[in-house]
């Protein structure tokens, strides 16, 4: 059958293959988690800015911001699985649950004083630990994002304590939002 096709016909068929692949690459970018990065990036900007402008006592609003972001993230994920879905990976879910459960125990076992900035930096580091784990499991951009933001969190926490909240808004939330744009437009 190969011999019956001219090079021009073969080239036309390969061009159709490339066109369909390009369409799907666009679809894949629409489903690679940029909505979650934007939602949580915005949350990671709002929380430190609340503390920066209103004082550390505004940390009491952080759980509320997380609940709103979690709900939006769930809705975005639910809406996208109507188009492209993958079977739920229960083992991966269990790994993330383990990461968060043990991380929640460490401060109590170590009897660390729960100072707001330390607690916030720790929660953000655990979130980035989840990104690294997810990156190892699924899509490698999450791994690099997790490592980079974790390094930025530690840098702000140890070297720029006076600027901590602004640092976290810009380099924590900002990095997630910018990565969302990168994933949406350029990733794969």
């Amino acid at each position: 059958m190969s011999q019956q096709l001219s090079p021009d016909e073969a080239a036309a068929l390969l061009s159709q293959v490339e066109s369909a692949r390009a369409t799907m690459r666009h679809v894949i970018r629409e489903h690679r988690g940029h909505y979650h990065l934007w939602i949580w990036g915005a949350a990671w900007m709002v929380m430190p800015l609340l503390a920066y402008f209103g004082g550390d006592q505004n940390a009491r609003y952080f759980p509320l911001v997380c609940i709103v972001a979690g709900a939006l993230s769930f809705l975005a994920g639910f809406s996208q699985t109507k188009q492209i879905r993958r079977p739920a990976n229960l083992r991966f879910g269990a790994v993330l649950l383990t990461v968060w459960s043990f991380a929640a125990l460490f401060p109590f076992v170590l009897r660390i004083e729960l100072e707001v900035r330390s607690l916030y930096a720790n929660c953000c580091l655990v979130a980035m630990q989840s990104y690294v784990v997810a990156g190892l499991w699924t899509d490698s951009y999450l791994l690099w994002l997790g490592v980079a933001v974790a390094a930025l969190i530690l840098g702000g926490f140890f070297f720029f304590p006076a600027l901590f909240w602004i640092w976290m808004a810009v380099f924590g939330g900002g990095t997630l939002i910018v990565t969302g744009f990168y994933v949406r437009h350029f990733w794969r």
């Binding site: 059958m1 190969s2 011999q3 096709l5 001219s6 090079p7 073969a10 080239a11 068929l13 390969l14 159709q16 293959v17 490339e18 066109s19 369909a20 692949r21 369409t23 799907m24 690459r25 679809v27 894949i28 109507k82 188009q83 492209i84 879905r85 993958r86 079977p87």
Partner: protein, 97 residues
């Protein structure tokens, strides 16, 4: 020179396989969404998917989402292999002997 796959060779099926093999192995795409992306009609896409399913090149899963029937489609492992071989055969035609 490797042979072309007669099932995949049909242009619409070629585009369908190109689209499905672009997804990860565990990912499935909704029938209606795929139809829109490839600019096909219900009947056209349905007929070609049946041919590919009978050849074992795709997996079709019918389910309900919010009480509405939904069909999800994915490329099977043999389908990915056959498609890769078919594309290699097309590329071989382009190469000078």
């Amino acid at each position: 020179m490797p042979d072309l796959d007669e099932i995949i060779h049909q242009p619409v099926r070629l585009r369908i396989m190109a689209a499905l093999t672009s997804l990860d192995a565990r990912e499935q795409v909704d029938f209606t969404y795929l139809k829109g992306k490839l600019d096909l009609t219900d009947g056209n896409l349905g007929a070609h998917l049946r041919a590919l399913e009978e050849a074992g090149y795709i997996l079709v899963e019918k389910t309900y989402v919010e009480r509405r029937p939904k069909t999800f489609v994915a490329a099977s492992a043999p389908g990915r292999k056959a498609f890769a071989a078919h594309v290699a055969a097309l590329q071989a035609i382009l190469k000078p002997q």
